[in-house]
Amino acid sequence: MSLSHLTRRRTLTTPTLLTPLLTRHLSTSDSLTIETSVPFTSHNIDPPSRSVTTTASELLSFFRTMALMRRAEIAADSLYKAKLIRGFCHLYDGQEAVAVGMESAITRSDSIITAYRDHCIFLARGGTLLETFAELMGRRGGCSRGKGGSMHFYRKEGGFYGGHGIVGAQVPLGCGIAFAQKYLKEESVTFALYGDGAANQGQLFEALNMAALWDLPAILVCENNHYGMGTAEWRAAKSPAYYKRGDYVPGLKVDGMDVLAVKQASKFAKEHVLKNGPIILEMDTYRYHGHSMSDPGSTYRTRDEISGIRQERDPVERVRKLILAHDLATEKELKDVEKEVRKEVDDAIAQAKESPLPDTSELFTNIYVKGLGTEAFGADRKELRAVLP
């Protein structure tokens, strides 16, 4: 992948290689303009420019955050194999650029909703590693106090509405959040994420129709990792051009492995929907893991394909190369960041392991906001019952 068309403005505060990475003072005027790997393809709309403005500190933070997410998902893999995580575990490694690029273009007043591959979106929205691992292990310190599990992470204060296990359901829900944003005149938008598998769901088109009718500030983001569980997109969709499937709703196809392209598209989409109603963003991305931890991911795709993507398009590696090409940090400094991030993850896991399982009383909490003094029962209702406050 060639790194052509790179420009850079020199200022008096251009960082030197001798300054340590973490204490380096990076001037905000130290901006860079970088071209996306490929141009945007669009449907019923003029695409945004390929030239993305960023800063050194933004690129470094992209690297750090994506490296953290990568490390966290790989650690989750090990925890699952050690049987500390149970049930379902859907990992996001390979797709980090979508979470990070999107987050960089929006604020916490904007909302995000996704399906079950939600760990990294949670982290991007301000969730902590401790809450992540504790929730995965079903502990009290988890973001859902151990009651949700991998597929049900939420961070409402950060504008993250979960975490949903039913394929496609999150899209009408996301349009509903956008409805509320418009109703409350909030000038904010909602990103409703879904996969290429969910893209064929009828309720998606029902919700899109209403979003378009009512001009809702809804951005539908198809994270197209090309496989709906074990079914390749060409086997599931007559038209896998997901960005075009909105018909009267404009769409943009984005290289989802290029964090700057994702940032640019998200910024563009936010501006668009605040004035014009919904838009579809198709992120061309890839997951290295199988659909979930019970899927090896190699029965329906070749190992060459997986390693090929890793070589050519890995989102973390791309940012590393950019940083090095622009002399924003040395290789060693970036390696140190990765070591730091690994330690952070390991520390969080250790701490999460210390977190206890929820108290048995939690069996009966949060069924209702207002329990009205009714009774709820355990398996043996004469043995285990509770009054809901």
């Binding site: 029902e206 069924i367 209702r381």
Partner: protein, 369 residues
């Protein structure tokens, strides 16, 4: 002319009932005194005024569904609301239940207070994933971060001659689901008080109305007409005190049970009629207390018998008040068949007053089983 006579007769009847109740010395859970009221409103008016008032009180309340706006409501329940509150708060949707229910639940996540109208609850099956998985369970799965102050309402159960796909009662299905509250009004007072309570409630509420009750009038006191009138969720109402057999019912069947009680009275069987009002939470305490007094129980519902509301009530009695039963519990329910169209078959598919009377007599060993 006859209407005034009727009103006077009703008032006299109420006064004598009141007298008898006072003699019995128990006025808990009983009919409020209507002696001072002369106003009657239909269930339709009750629901309409409840919606009107709750939308006035809280700008976050909005109505969404098919034909709720310009058509004034498929059953005219939302008449006048579009004109008063505008298209931002009274929203006509395309015929896409899964989509608009999901949108409404999402809006509730963001702290609006949607009232979703299903033209009938048969169509709610297209949206049932959102009712159960997106609404009912979210509070629990998120450990309290996402709460869902939403109401799903519409006509439920059999109408007249609408056939199998338009006649099912969903009380048992929704009533089994933790995280939901399920209400079913009978009278205008029920309709007003329970709908207002449902809209004010911070949890998802399924509100099961009945098309054939919309046009029926019931007397209401000034208290009921007050804009702050609410009924408690989870509390049944004893519509008629009795001592020989308890009859539980909800929605339209309450009317049938009351008529059955009048017939039983002539045979000197005193039936206590309980209007459940709330399917979930079920007022087990009131039902059990009643059966401990009467020792006999007939459950009445329009829905399918297997795994129905009556089955749950029977189980509750067997678990909590077994020694008090003097006869097996009787269940009167809709027939175990898809609803037929022909009038004679339809009549046989739905409980009739004589079925309730017969079952009550069986519990009293007064008829051949």
């Amino acid at each position: 002319m006859s209407r005034t006579l009727l009103q006077r007769a009703r008032r006299a009847a109420f006064a004598s009932v009141l007298e008898r109740l006072q003699k019995l010395g128990c006025l808990q859970n009983t009919t409020r005194t209507y002696a001072s009221s002369s106003k009657e409103i239909t269930v339709r008016e009750a629901l309409n005024t409840a919606l009107y008032e709750e939308m006035a009180a809280d700008p976050k309340v909005f109505l969404i569904g098919e034909e709720v706006g310009e058509y004034q409501g498929a059953y005219k329940i939302s008449k006048g609301l579009l004109e008063k509150y505008g298209p931002e708060r009274v929203i006509d949707t395309p015929i896409t239940e899964a989509g608009f229910t999901g949108i409404a639940v999402g809006a509730a996540y963001k702290e609006l207070r949607p009232v979703v109208e299903f033209m009938t609850f048969n169509f709610s099956m297209q949206a049932i994933d959102h009712i159960i998985n997106s609404a009912a369970k979210s509070n629990y799965m998120s450990a309290g971060q996402l709460t869902v102050p939403i109401v799903f309402r519409g006509p439920n159960g059999a109408a007249a001659g609408v056939g199998a796909q338009h006649s099912q009662c969903y009380a048992a299905w929704y009533g089994s689901c933790p995280g939901l509250k399920v209400l079913s009004p009978y009278s205008s007072e029920d309709a007003r008080g329970l709908l207002k309570a449902a809209i004010r409630d911070p949890d998802p509420v399924v509100f099961l109305e009945n098309e054939l009750l919309y046009g029926e009038s019931f007397p209401v006191s000034d208290e009921v007409l007050d804009s702050n009138f609410v009924l408690p969720i989870g509390k049944a109402k004893i519509e008629r005190l009795g001592k020989d057999v308890t009859i539980t019912a909800y929605s339209k069947m309450v009317g049938y049970a009351l008529k059955a009680a009048e017939i039983l009275e002539k045979d000197r069987i005193s039936a206590e009629v309980i209007n459940l009002r709330s399917i979930r939470p079920l007022d087990r305490a009131t039902i059990n207390e009643s059966v401990r007094k009467t020792n006999r129980l007939v459950t009445v519902e329009e829905g399918f018998p297997q795994h129905g509301v009556g089955a749950e009530i029977c189980a509750s009695i067997v678990e909590e008040s077994f020694e008090y039963l003097d006869a097996p519990v009787e269940r009167i329910a809709g027939a175990d068949i898809p609803m037929p169209y022909a009038a004679n078959l339809e009549r046989l598919a739905v409980p009739q007053i004589e079925d309730i009377v017969r079952a009550a007599k069986r519990t009293c060993y007064r008829s051949v089983p």
